[in-house]
Every structure is written in C-alpha cells, then in structure tokens.
Point group: C2
Chain length 200, copies 2
C-alpha cells in the first residue's frame, strides 16, 4: 500500500472512531470523510461497506475487552471477576455510543466474537462453579445483561450521573445463587444467539 493511502486509512479510522463514539453507528458517512479530511470517494475506496469501517474502528476495543477478560480471570474471587468484567465493559459502552450500539446489535462477523465467547465462557463458568453465580445461568444469558445495560445507557445518556450502575446492581442481585428461583424457559441456544448477532 502506498504511503499516502496508508495515511488516509489511518485518518479515516481515527475519524470513524470519533464520529461513531459521538453520534452512533448510523451517521452519514460523509461526516466521517469530512472529519478525516478526505473525500467520500476515498472512504468508499478503502472501506467498501459501512461494516468494514466499523470493524476497523472498533478493532482495538475488541482487544481492550480481551484484556479486561484476562484481568477478570486473574482476580482470585470468581464472582468478583464476573462483576468486574461486566462493569468494565458497561463502562466502555457508556463512554462510546458506537460501542454501545455495537454491543446491542452485534457485529456482522463471527471472527472476533469467537474470541470473546471463549473468554466470557470461562468467566461465567468459573463464577458459576464458584457457587455465587446461580447454577442455571448460561453464557447465552449474558446477552440479557448486555442488552439491558445497553438500553439503559442509551436512554440515560444525557443524564449527569451513571444511573446504569444502579440498573446493573439490580441485575446482578438477580444473578446470585442465593436469589435464584426456577426459570420458566430454557436459555437461547448458541445458534439462536449467533443468528441474532448476525442479523438473520
């Protein structure tokens, strides 16, 4: 790739990060091109679909989450690890509208999801086996947590305080083994969830 092309690519990704964070994933792409100081044609040349751009813009968020997951697994108490992970990810979502929307809708690619799946799977399993997380809670149920927080962050974005923390605390209280009452319906299957995130 030519040097100027590489530079423009970087500018575009940086601009996309900013614009997505401020205005969400559905912004008009000219806004990104404009902020990058590059023509719309160049944007399309480099990123033929909006998704290509989204993926590029959030590539390092994926890394961040992976790091958070590793750290969570490093904490001695499994429940603390679980809580830590959920809280930190929610924090990321609260700070970045684009990332929040991404968490709600899912990325239309399974590549990096697989990585996150494995990590979360371990965090959940460990917490469950530790005995504090309720026994009937599955990895797929994490989607409920994410979706919930996602919506509350969205709705309360303009509020001064981080009210989502209150919501999250209420949710977590329902996930403790000590709070558990029988659940009426089986969890989503892995395929169902994958379909949802893929948009089928």
């Amino acid at each position: 790739m030519r040097r100027d092309a590489e530079l423009n690519r970087e500018r575009l990704v940086a601009a996309a990060r900013e614009v997505f964070a401020e205005r969400g994933l559905d912004v008009a792409l000219d806004a990104v091109a404009k902020r990058a100081g590059v023509s719309i044609g160049t944007l399309y040349n480099r990123f033929p679909t909006r998704n290509d751009l989204v993926r590029a813009a959030f590539a390092d968020s994926v890394d961040t989450v992976a790091r958070l997951g590793e750290h969570a697994l490093g904490l001695e108490d499994p429940w603390d690890g679980f809580v830590y992970f959920v809280e930190q990810v929610s924090q990321l979502q609260a700070a970045d509208r684009g990332y929040n929307e991404l968490a709600a809708r899912g990325v239309p690619t399974s590549e990096e999801l697989a990585r996150g799946y494995d990590l979360m799977s371990r965090i959940v399993a460990r917490a469950r086996e530790g005995g504090v997380l309720r026994a009937d809670f599955t990895l797929e149920d994490m989607a409920f947590v994410t979706w919930s927080i996602t919506r509350t962050i969205e709705a309360t974005a303009k509020t001064g305080t981080a009210v989502w923390r209150r919501h999250l605390a209420l949710i977590l209280d329902g996930l403790r083994a000590s709070a558990a009452h029988p659940l009426p319906v089986p969890p989503l299957s892995r395929e169902e969830l994958a379909d949802i995130y893929r948009g089928c």
Copy 2:
C-alpha cells in the same frame, strides 16, 4: 365531521395499528395510507404529525394497560400483583412491535403517562410495603425493567419461544427484598425520567 371523513379516520387508525404492530413506529406513512385504502394527503389532513397517528393508534392500548393495572391491584398478594402487571405488559409488548417501541421511547405527551404513573405507583408501593419487593426499589426503577424487556423482545422477536420470559424471571429475582444488596447510585428523579420520555 362528515360521515365519510369519520370512516376514513377509522380506516386510518385501524391500518396504523396493523402496520405499526408489524413493522414498528418508523414505517413510511404511505404504507399506512395504502393499507387504509386512502391517499397520503388524507392521512396528513387527518393526522398532521406522525405522533398524532401514533397516539390515535395506541389509545386503547393505554386503556388495556389501565385495566391490567386495576386487576393487578385486585389480586390479594401484592407481589403477585406486581409480577402479574409486569408480565402482562411485557406480553403486550411482545405481541406488538409498535407498542414495544413505544414502551422503549416513551410517548411524547405526558397526558396518558400521568394515568399510568399513578397506577404503577400504587402497584409498586403496595408490593414494597408487602415486603417482598425490595425496599430501595422506586417507581422510577420500573423504567429499567421496561427498557430491559423491550430490548430483549426486540432482539429475540424472530425466535420461536418467548425467551423474554426467562429474562424477566432473572430480573424479578433481583427485585426481591431477599436478594437485595446495597445499590450504588440513587434512582432517577421523576423529572429526569419525564425528560427522557419526552425526548429532551
């Protein structure tokens, strides 16, 4: 109002109900006009803004919810009443995409909200005083419940089973007094919530 005008009005409202239920509140309005068998001009003549149409279309949903609320208050056990109400409203949401979106965004009018507020207020207070609903749960916290379910219904709409029931059960488990751990942040104030639903 002339007889034909009245008829067209009814047709439009009926069409709006159907179309909103199927495709959400953001459908192109020609779709509604078309289904009503009426020209787009007539639609705009009768309902100058989209909101006017939405309000008309969901007028009786508001009544339904009121009836559910009354019934909930009639149940002897306060907690059962609370659960009944939340479940039934969620059911309505699951059956009608438009209503689900309405619950998520709020109606840009405070008229009928006031009525719902009063009713929910009583349901929540009674359950709290009954001792099963946690003492630190406020009316405003109900928004968290609604938002959560709203999102899950949306995401899992194409799924065969009513997975939202599982999500709701998890939520409810966190609302019991026996599950309560201290909450980190004060609830939304009534004004904050009103602003959110009004879209400020």
